[in-house]
Symmetry: C2
Subunit: 150 residues, 2 copies
């Protein structure tokens, strides 16, 4: 899947902002009824919280915003393939559609790793659209790690 999308552009903006805060640059937005209900970037270092990945930050904010535990009917856009923790959280939140940018062979859990959505212990499977703004999503990460090495 290629092409761009305004919601993925917003997730990319969150990724860039995270990188500027010294966090691994990954961003996410939650969309409900065509409207962004939350935006999140990686905040693990800032919050001393290993669970504060972009997806979980955005899901928590959306639930708080909407006053509900689940996000049935909502879509999530994230710049990197979700990890095992986030793939499960996305399922628990009943996200309808998951759009992501770059693939993550090392830590991903959708097409890589444990492929959680294909597991019998996964009780809600979102529709998955991978590779949206893939190049831009990957470049933000590559640039960040290159700069950190230098």
């Amino acid at each position: 899947m290629s092409g761009t999308n305004r919601f993925m552009d917003e997730a990319l903006a969150e990724a860039k902002a995270a990188g500027e805060r010294g966090e691994v640059p990954i961003g996410a937005v939650v969309v409900m009824d065509g409207r962004i209900v939350s935006r999140g970037g990686n905040r693990t270092r800032e919050l001393n919280d290993v669970t504060a990945h972009a997806e979980i930050v955005a899901i928590r904010m959306a639930c708080e915003e909407l006053g509900q535990e689940r996000l049935t009917g909502a879509d999530l856009y994230v710049t990197l393939e979700p990890c095992t923790m986030c793939a499960a959280a996305i399922s628990f939140a009943r996200i309808r559609r998951l759009y992501y940018g770059a693939h993550d062979p090392k830590g991903g859990a959708v097409e890589n790793g444990v492929q959680f959505y294909a597991a019998p212990t996964c009780h809600h499977v979102p529709d998955v659209y991978a590779g949206l703004s893939e190049t831009a999503s990957a470049e933000i990460l590559t640039e960040f790690f290159r700069a950190r090495r230098d």
Copy 2:
């Protein structure tokens, strides 16, 4: 593994307290240097947060208490086999030893489901001790769901 343990007893107390709040009764404690640094029960309903499982509540509190992102050297006691999300969060937090009570064929991710700690995308594997206070841990859950059905 059988037998009881005072830290698992504390996790069981957290599970009971969660059930009294109307949450699925699962409890966890984080132990560092022989001292409990945090206790957590399931709070998904109270907080409208699908990620507020006992393990994640306890891990986040421990990180906040200690002012650090990782819990290297800490042990986690939890009454139920961790789910996919929590198994990954436990790995990310660098938990040294994971002790759990009841097995969870439907949602677990340690010996069941995706068996995350055996996956190549898992980059830190805790030592796992399963079945500690297994009967008591399972009975709290069985009782809770029986009472809810009635």
